[in-house]
Amino acid sequence: MLYYLKLTRAAEWRIEQVLYRQGKIVGGVYVGRGQEAVTVGAAIRLKDGDVVVPTHRDFSAFVMRGFSLREIFCNWMGRANGPTRGRDGSLHFGDMKRGVVGIISHLGSWCPVACGVAMALKRRGQGNVVVVFFGEGTSSEGDVHEAMNWAAVMKLPVIFVCNNNAYAYSTPAAREFAVKSLAVRGPAYGMPGEAVDGNDVLAVYASSQRAIARARAGGGPSLIECKTFRMTGHAAHDMAEYVPQALLKTWARKDPIKRFEKFLLTQRILTRPRLREMEQTIQKEVDDAVAYAEASPLPEGPTALRGVYCHPD
């Protein structure tokens, strides 16, 4: 868990604070700093055949499902050998063989898609589940409503993980919905809803595992609201001056990675030398991926014409 948390922090820092500023990554840059525990806790323990639908702030999901950092950085940098061959950026990709559905920019649109994946999994009958992520801002989209209702009506094995990071771009959650907790929407659709501390990776993990076990057993969907905080702007260009400094300071003290580290150290599960070793390994992995992506070719212009349609082999 700690490895994925720290890897995400390091890789996203490189993307947002270094490569974007150097002009080596173009376009929109969205990261999940401060909320890494939501993704790691919810998606770290899945089975073969399970499917994850990660958002643009769920970096670790890709790594946990087997994407290499090299592949991920190649996509960020628009390389010809990245998963989208330069056709789309950031984390807008997937691979059905590895159980990852790629999202699009239209928020919540992937929630009905997750339901369709779950319909296929249910039909397969091997107890597989779909974990689908979305933000509290996205919860205002009609697609999220349609999907949650649909999943409940059809009793589909879907775990809806709402990452409530308090801000939808510049709009605070209080202007997105009038309930204190989005978890109450679960029962409104006919599924359990639970709110957890999204900065406590073990709490997210425990809640997710309960929901996953329930879904595997045919009990249908669940909603988990993970309360966390976006410690960055909406995207790299956004200085987020609309977020009160005091709030940022409060949440900085609750940093999910420092908190988990402290827990592991005080419980003597982890030693300081082992932690340093992990940090060094992660640095090396990120350095390698960036170097690999930078050395990789950019796509040739005319390849843009290929693959609009899928042709059978």
Binding site: D95, I104, V113, A118, A147, C310
Partner: protein, 324 residues
């Protein structure tokens, strides 16, 4: 061969594909117990079971989105829009999700979104639209509209077997009005290929959907006046059969572009541009459009009648063009 209506031909095509391939399944509103608002899926729940004929909530976006998800898992969903007008509620899933997935990161998205479109049954502004061009302008989709019962069966089967998202417009005016001998055996009509419905020499009428029958009626009338119309049925609007359009223009040297859809931004404009680019030297007269005007589809019968192109309007345009 049995005489089938256009509607029964679609139904038979879907039925055969359901029998042939267990990965094909249906989802939509009221398609199971009720058999669909127009009965296209009548009897399918009984035959294929509730796992393959799925009544859904009234959630067009989720219908298309779930179809996309299931398709990426290897299934072949056929999603019904109760009326094609309602696809607007699932627009994002069609044009942003389904159309672009393969291009972006690879998986095929073999879905068919089908349903009744078109006017002539006094359905009013929200049950009568010809909204095919919303999708013709979206790379990655295929857009199909059959005019005959034979094609309706062959095209729906080809659409279901295609590995791309296909938006399949059925014309509700034709559902029970068109009756033809349709082979009981398996056949497909390939996507992307037009058909010459009537060979002629003076004026080419390039059209699709219910307007094919309007063009044929006009051709019959004008034959008595020794004006020979050629009628080309596009059948697939995206990708459309450029060669067939140009061949007919080069043969007749005069062309009418006819559709039930409204004028601005319609298929006729696209074809006019193609003809101007590639067959300019072959033209002996102006390219003429006969289309519905740029209004919503009105409800009251005299308004709807005024709105719709008909054989008289086509014949009038053809007479003028023939004399040019």
């Amino acid at each position: 061969m049995a005489v089938l209506t256009y509607l029964d031909a679609i139904r038979q095509g879907i039925w055969e594909e359901m029998e042939r391939d267990p990965s094909v399944f249906l989802l939509g509103e009221d398609i199971g117990v009720y058999g669909g608002a127009f009965k296209v899926t009548a009897g399918m729940l009984e035959k294929f079971g509730a796992d393959r004929v799925i009544d859904t909530p009234i959630s067009e976006s989720a219908i298309v989105g779930a179809a996309v998800g299931a398709a990426m898992m290897g299934l072949r969903p056929v999603a019904e829009m109760q009326f094609m007008d309602f696809i607007a509620c699932g627009f994002d899933q069609v044009v942003n999700m389904a159309a672009k997935i393969h291009y972006r990161w690879g998986p095929p998205v073999p879905i068919v979104i089908r349903g009744p479109s078109g006017a002539g049954v006094h359905g009013g502004p929200f049950h009568s639209q010809s909204n095919e061009m919303w999708f013709v302008h979206t790379p990655g989709l295929k857009v199909v509209m059959p005019a005959t019962a034979y094609d309706a069966k062959g095209l729906i089967k080809a659409a279901i077997r295609d590995d791309n998202p296909v938006v399949f417009f059925e014309h509700k005016f034709l559902y029970r009005r068109i009756k033809e001998e349709v082979p009981a055996e398996d056949y497909v009509v390939p996507l992307g290929k037009a058909a010459v419905r009537r060979a002629g020499s003076d004026v080419a009428v390039i059209t699709y959907g219910a307007m094919v029958w309007v063009a044929l009626e006009a051709a019959e009338q004008l034959a008595k006046e020794s004006i020979s119309l050629e009628v080309v049925d596009l059948r697939t609007l995206l990708p459309y059969d450029e060669d067939a359009v140009l061949a007919s223009v080069r043969k007749c040297n005069k062309v009418i572009l006819l559709h039930e859809d409204t004028r601005t931004g319609g298929m006729a404009g696209e074809l006019a541009a193609l003809i101007a680019e590639k067959a300019f030297e072959d033209l002996d007269g102006p390219v003429v459009r006969v289309t519905a005007p740029d209004t919503p589809v009105p409800f009251s019968p005299p308004l709807e009648e005024y709105f719709l192109p008909n054989a008289q309007k086509v014949a009038e345009a053809a007479r003028k063009l023939a004399a040019y």
